[in-house]
């Protein structure tokens, strides 16, 4: 039996195909103005990789902000539950999940059964989300993926005074004009990002083991800064792209709902 999970986020759309034992294919594409189009494209890509026909997918669960717009979903479940399900499947010792997506950040605490105990999400703005890093990478005229490596080469991080993405952007421009190296600016950006996420993590009482999911989990500089700040080791999910955790959780729910 093949099932699917489709996670439509603000920046990316993800699909995971699951056969009850393993992930048989996955895809990550940029979200489209019409979420339905993105969902279809991501599904097609994943089906092509797995060489399965879309009609063979028995059940699909939609998640993410666009979950109600997944045209082929049989059911929808919030990303909080899906991330929890996915992370617990990949790493059963996890008790706190830090998920940093494109436009939001959540901290979920779970019990030994892998059920959500409590969660907190960022309320205020884009600070502490993938969007913050994206804006800063743009100002530095580098690809988002380069930010982490660049930060690792920095040795004297700049300070971003404001929590606001717009003001921080102005700060970065000021530092560039002053001739500060991009490496030190990138390090400052990652530290500042970690600080913002740290505030949210401290709102939820942190229980070990802690793992990180979502696109920003791939930015090892931010993860390292976060570890320093919180004084905990953060487990990196390596067997699956951490950005797929929500879609994987949706696929696992789909498998359950389909009677698997």
């Amino acid at each position: 039996m093949i099932v699917a999970g489709c996670d439509i986020g603000s920046l990316t759309t993800k699909v995971v195909l699951f056969d009850g034992k393993k992930i048989i294919a996955s895809s990550i594409i940029k979200s489209k103005p019409k979420p339905e189009d993105g969902a279809y494209e991501a599904l097609q890509q994943a089906c092509a990789i797995a060489t399965v026909n879309q009609d063979n997918i028995v059940y699909c669960v939609g998640t993410g902000y666009g979950r109600k717009r997944v045209p082929f979903a049989n059911n929808t479940i919030s990303e909080i539950s899906c991330h929890t399900k996915g992370a617990f499947y990949l790493y059963p010792n996890v008790r706190t999940i830090i998920d940093i997506g494109g436009q939001d950040c959540k901290v979920i605490s779970l019990n030994t059964q892998g059920e959500v105990d409590r969660f907190v999400t960022n309320d205020k703005c884009a600070a502490g989300t993938g969007r913050f890093l994206e804006v800063m990478a743009k100002v530095l005229k580098i690809e988002l993926q380069e930010l982490s490596n660049m930060a690792k080469k920095g040795n004297e991080a700049i300070t971003l005074a404001s929590a606001c993405t717009v003001w921080a952007q102005a700060d970065v421009i000021k530092y560039l004009n002053e001739g500060i190296s991009k490496e030190n600016i990138a390090l400052g950006v990652c530290k500042s990002m970690a600080k913002r996420v740290g505030v949210l993590v401290n709102q939820a009482s942190i229980k070990r083991d802690v793992c990180i999911t979502g696109g920003v989990a791939k930015n090892t500089a931010v993860v390292k800064e976060l570890e320093n700040l919180l004084g905990v080791t953060i487990v990196k999910i390596t067997n699956v792209d951490p950005q797929l955790t929500g879609a994987l959780g949706a696929a696992l729910f789909a498998y359950q709902k389909a009677g698997g």
């Binding site: 919030s78 539950s81 959500v116």
Partner: protein, 385 residues
Amino acid sequence: MFEEFYTIAQSINNEYIAKVKEQGALCIGYTCSYFPEEILHALGIIPYRIKGLNVSSLSIADAAFGPFICSHPKCLLQHFALGDYSFLDGIIVTPGCDSMRRIDECIRKTAVNLDLPVVPPFFFHYAVPHKITEYSVKWLVEELHRFIDSVSAHFGLSFSYDKLKESIAFYNRLRKRLEELNALRIHYPARIAGADAVAVYVAGLSMPRDRFYGMMESLLSEYTGTALEDRKRLMLIGSANDDIDFIKTVEGETAVVVADTLCYGPRLEVDYVDEEDEPLHALALRYLNHSHCPRMYGGYKQRLAKVVEAIRIAQVEGVVLQNIRFCDLHGAENGLIERDLEKLGIPCLRLEREYGPLADNERMRMRIDAFLERLEVRRLVCERP
């Protein structure tokens, strides 16, 4: 059955007010549930609880209030500035919270700055103490005297204690009806959606109360109720809310708000005014003791106890604690309530939101869905052998 209540609740002016105004009645708006409507009713004036609904821009209010303040009083000011409240003959401003108190100078300043006739002819700052002591009750009785003198002199009305006693008795009867409506929510399964109940409460604050009483009586005699089976039973706590769409967002298709402590609602328990006591003293006592709002100092333990009791009576499965951004009173108290309820094993969800149509529905929906899923898991765990 509820359409009429929705129409009244979801608009600023309505035909019922227009009709009595045509016949010469006066209508006075107020900003806080700590103001005793009974006084206005006794003078034949229609009390109107000012709402902030359906504002699409805060252009004027932002300039007056600045950015770092709760959006609820801002929406009220925007309505005043747009002339939506021109049917009011007066306004009573109460220092419920600091943001609401500031509406006093912001309305007057807006009138001067923009040269708009937004200040109603009668304008009264009605102060309410933040503590319940023998002294503060006495003080509030004096404030009531000051208000009665001011409003009577302004409109040339004569105040009578006998009329006030009749109004107190009338409001107690009205509270009884509200209690009967509330019982439908508490019922297991709930027999009325939270949104419908709130529509009734809000409508009741926006129209002549005698007419509302008649509508309530017909509703209670005709409404057979619906059984909202299998819905997660929620309690809603926090900042002021007159927005029925917000209640609908919280309820979605799988939950029902069976209890709330919201201002604009009957609050948890409907406190009656002692009809045997001297009327002004009785009113001062009732309104000061009506302490579900964190504006009252030192009352946290009692408020928490009432919430816990309501959770028990209404068989609440989860509590949604919301506060409007920059509402420090509810923001801070929600943190305490969450801590204490979670300790008792009652699941809580804390939401910070913007007021009214400016609200970010999708983000809110995600969090509420996740919370309802958490409650679903709890149900399943309870059923596990």
